[in-house]
């Protein structure tokens, strides 16, 4: 364990990895959406409120923010907010499904400094991708990538959630990114949002975890992963590149579309809600003084992992993954490579896991029933 990781556990003056989901509205309905997005929330922060938050982040010297959603480009003030942020010295990385990037918008985006774009793609062919992200979403993403390339945006990112069904395509994803002069980012599927219902069918098998680990050992230097795969470090002596700790409330946090602040984008649940930017003291007070965040910065117990020789490398895995599968937070990750998580899950009563909150999924479509008179 490095001294630096110990320092980070105690928290920072301001987050490094702040995600801000601008809206719950989305044109897609991905089955693993971490924020259960679909419909806009009427309480969404106004443009002025959002700018006031950016002013605060500027004062805190937040270097950059990760904008997501929902589909952030649905907001009418999307460009206004991005431009305001950059003008305040806060770089922007934003995630999009690409539906609103046409040739003109691509040129506008390409003209901006300190802006990074991630296009979400979960398969290197339409069948694999659209099964998760919806019909036509593969073609949409590739069209956006074409526009960005043609506009000379430079190295944008292709962001992939690794599942049981696309894990064999990692080489192809890499080749696709290379062909576009883009950078590949792969992240872990977590049982958050609508992912709580699909995780059991989509998450990589134990054999596939080893496959991801080996692939990252070979290619990891050129692939972004954030804090996705540190639970795999228990597989070998060599740690994967990336952040090797759960940064929730320490270096990571989420501001959701209505201004609520959570410990991490993958834990949208009251238990991990630290407050709202609309309250007195705003975001700064929450980051510096909320009981939840201060508690997360205390030394955490290793619980059932304490006797495991891999704890230093794996840290017991991801808090969100444990929480939404109903496992104790101070025990093994559901995808523990030693099989401890699987064991714990097998003894669990069905339906005992906490349900994600803030569901903004669209109501099920009513299929018109043809009334045929016989």
């Amino acid at each position: 364990m490095t001294a630096l990781v110990e320092q980070l556990k105690g928290g920072l003056e301001a987050p490094i990895c702040l995600t801000w989901e601008l809206t719950y509205a989305c044109n897609l309905e991905c089955v693993h959406c971490l924020s259960s997005s679909g419909r806009r929330d009427p309480r969404e922060l106004t443009t002025d409120e959002a700018k006031a938050v950016l002013d605060e982040l500027h004062d805190l010297q937040v270097f950059y923010i990760n904008i997501g959603g929902g589909e952030p480009m649905i907001r009418r003030d999307f460009f206004e907010l991005v431009e305001y942020s950059i003008a305040r010295g806060i770089g922007v990385k934003f995630s999009t499904n690409g539906a609103f990037i046409d040739a003109e918008k691509a040129r506008r985006l390409a003209a901006m400094d300190y802006l990074d774009i991630q296009i979400s793609l979960d398969g290197t062919d339409a069948d694999t991708n659209d099964a998760v992200r919806g019909d036509g979403s593969y073609a949409t993403a590739l069209r956006a990538m074409d526009h960005l390339r043609d506009a000379g945006f430079g190295p944008f990112k292709i962001s992939v959630v690794v599942t049981r069904h696309n894990v064999d395509q990692l080489d192809e994803f890499k080749a696709l990114a290379d062909a576009y002069g883009a950078q590949l980012r792969i992240t872990r599927l977590r049982p958050s949002g609508r992912g709580a219902d699909t995780w059991h069918d989509l998450h990589p098998t134990n054999a596939q975890q080893r496959q991801i680990y080996d692939w990252l050992l070979a290619h990891g230097e050129h692939v972004l992963t954030g804090d996705s795969f540190f639970h795999l470090n228990a597989l070998g002596d060599q740690n994967l590149p990336g952040l090797n700790l759960c940064g929730a409330g320490r270096v990571v946090c989420l501001i959701d579309p209505v201004g609520d602040v959570y410990a991490c984008p993958f834990v949208i649940h009251d238990e991990f809600k630290a407050g709202s930017v609309r309250e007195t003291g705003g975001f700064s007070r929450i980051w510096k003084q909320s009981d939840l965040f201060l508690g997360l910065r205390e030394p955490q117990s290793a619980g059932a992992c304490a006797s495991c020789g891999s704890y230093d490398a794996c840290q017991g895995g991801c808090m969100a993954a444990k929480f939404f599968t109903g496992l104790p937070l101070d025990g093994p990750d559901p995808e523990c490579v030693g099989g401890e998580g699987e064991l714990a899950l097998s003894g669990q009563t069905a339906g005992s896991a906490p349900r994600p909150m803030m569901d903004h999924s669209k109501p099920p479509r009513v299929t018109p029933v043809a009334l045929v008179r016989k």
Binding site: A3, L4, Q7, G10, L12, E13, A14, I16, Q61, F63, Y64, G89, G91, Y114, D116
Partner: protein, 96 residues
């Protein structure tokens, strides 16, 4: 591309924080973020932070170290720290 100088030559150079780099104070020292390369570097000692901030207003690295009350037996450690900050482009030579 210039070759990496021997550490001894470093003391005579005039350095400054790269204009695209921001420093944020932290309990352990500071975080440095480079807006162009998007790199984040941890300055893990408050003395390193003081020296880095002082570089821009002194003729040489040695003068900045002296102004920050760094004793000469600690110079080699600081030279190593500063070299790695030059390699990550957090610091650059001052023009003219």
């Amino acid at each position: 591309m210039t070759t990496v100088d021997a550490p001894s030559a470093l003391l005579d150079r005039a350095l400054a924080l790269h204009p695209q780099v921001a420093l944020r104070p932290e309990p352990f020292g500071a975080l440095a973020y480079h807006y162009d390369t998007r790199r984040l570097v941890f300055l893990k000692h408050p003395d390193v932070v003081r020296v880095v901030r002082a570089l821009g207003s002194h003729e040489t690295v040695a003068a900045a170290l002296v102004a920050c009350d760094i004793s000469s037996d600690r110079f080699p450690a600081f030279e190593r720290a500063l070299m790695s900050l030059i390699e990550s482009e957090m610091l650059c030579d001052r023009a003219g």
